[in-house]
């Protein structure tokens, strides 16, 4: 319920493929309480003003990564951005940049999902342990190596912040390269070589030009720019090692 005192104007990007040639903004007057998120504002619009509005959401607590959107031009999660911070001005909500718009605030995520599968985002054990051999052990220090990069919620805000991805969607992009790093530096994992075939490519770490806005907008402080750029050193070393290592040799 709202206290009914404050009303904020929300301009929402609309695109209905069956009837619109291109997106346009539609304005809504939304009464709100101080603890209302932008997502709550959108739900108010859908429930009480205009049921035709489409947007994705699920958990309302910044862990599912569904409600990424552009709020006044900045990639943010709708559920952890508050309407009060934009009052008494108005608020403009767009679909995430750099992704094709499916409908209103819903974007096509197929490219992201395909790339995610390509980097094998799971542990590929160095030596497979049988059940009776027990679990894969890891020290707290070894965990620290990748913990930060494992907190990604796949919200794709970093993709909306990355002009390189916007200009060339062939680029693997910040979030997925950070996940690649997360598995590569896990002490239990032995899949680095397999994954880095993609990591070494132009579409991999070298597609990044260190704009670093991805790290600014990340709601989970994953710091994808750090994950990607520290891999450039490793990638360069791997490149030059090829010339001195005997053919077929491994590390």
């Amino acid at each position: 319920m709202t206290d009914g005192n404050k009303i904020i104007e929300m301009e929402v990007l609309r695109y209905r493929p069956e009837q619109d040639q291109e997106p346009f903004y539609q304005s809504y007057e939304v009464p709100f309480a101080d603890d209302w998120s932008v997502l709550q504002g959108l739900r108010y619009i859908k429930d009480d003003l205009d049921s035709s509005l489409s947007f994705r959401w699920s958990c309302r607590m910044a862990i599912c990564g569904s409600c990424g959107m552009m709020i006044n031009g900045v990639p943010k999660l709708g559920c952890r951005t508050f309407l009060r911070n934009y009052y008494p001005g108005k608020l403009r909500v767009d679909a995430l940049e750099h992704f094709p718009i499916e409908r209103d605030l819903v974007v096509v995520v197929d490219d992201f999902m395909n790339k995610l599968a390509q980097i094998k985002p799971y542990l590929i054990p160095k030596q497979v342990r049988r059940l009776e051999q027990g679990e894969y052990l890891q020290t707290p220090q070894q965990l620290e190596h990748y913990r930060q990069f494992s907190t990604c919620i796949n919200c794709m805000l970093c993709y909306a912040a990355c002009p390189q991805y916007g200009m060339n969607s062939g680029f693997t992009g910040p979030g997925i390269l950070a996940l690649m790093h997360r598995y590569n530096v896990d002490s239990r994992d032995g899949g680095r070589e397999e994954r880095m075939e993609l990591g070494h490519a132009d579409e991999g770490v070298w597609g990044c030009t260190a704009v670093a806005y991805c790290s600014e907008v990340c709601p989970k402080e994953v710091d994808p720019a750090n994950a990607i750029n520290q891999n450039k050193m490793g990638s360069a070393i791997d490149y030059f090692l090829r010339f001195i290592r005997p053919r077929g040799a491994t590390e």
Partner: protein, 136 residues
């Protein structure tokens, strides 16, 4: 294809003018643009080296050309550009490094930047002191 998928018509927004969207992008482009002026200054220095190889008179001519008010103004501008370039270089440096641990705690990224900037300031002052020492 089902009737439902027939209605899909994903709309891709144009990327043109992306850098105007956010001040962050303007800072990024300013950082990249400083590299061009730095390359230009490298050419000026290389030209000096070339003149040095051609003998004392040629080198003195190059030195004299540098005293030109236009050249002095350019040097003033380039000094500012170099300062911004150095700062932006050290600002991005922590992104290129694996985490550094100091007494069990992760070194915050701004501290790495500050160490870099401080080192650059100290080294530059040292060069100025040494050069003034040689000249006097």
């Amino acid at each position: 294809m089902s009737a439902q998928t027939d209605k899909r018509q994903p709309y891709l927004r144009p990327i043109r003018g992306w850098w105007k969207r956010d001040p962050y992008y303007i800072h990024y482009l300013a950082m990249e643009a400083t590299s061009i002026l730095i390359a230009l200054y490298a050419l000026i220095l290389l030209f000096g080296l070339l003149r040095l190889g051609q003998g004392e008179a040629a080198f003195n001519g190059w030195l004299e050309a540098l005293q030109n008010p236009l050249s002095v103004a350019l040097h003033g501008l380039l000094l500012l550009v170099f300062a911004y370039h150095s700062y932006s270089w050290f600002k991005i440096m922590p992104k290129t490094l694996p985490a550094i641990y100091w007494r069990g705690a992760k070194l915050p990224q701004p501290v790495i930047t500050q160490i870099g900037v401080a080192a650059a300031v100290v080294l530059n002052l040292l060069v100025i002191v040494v050069l003034t020492g040689i000249q006097s």
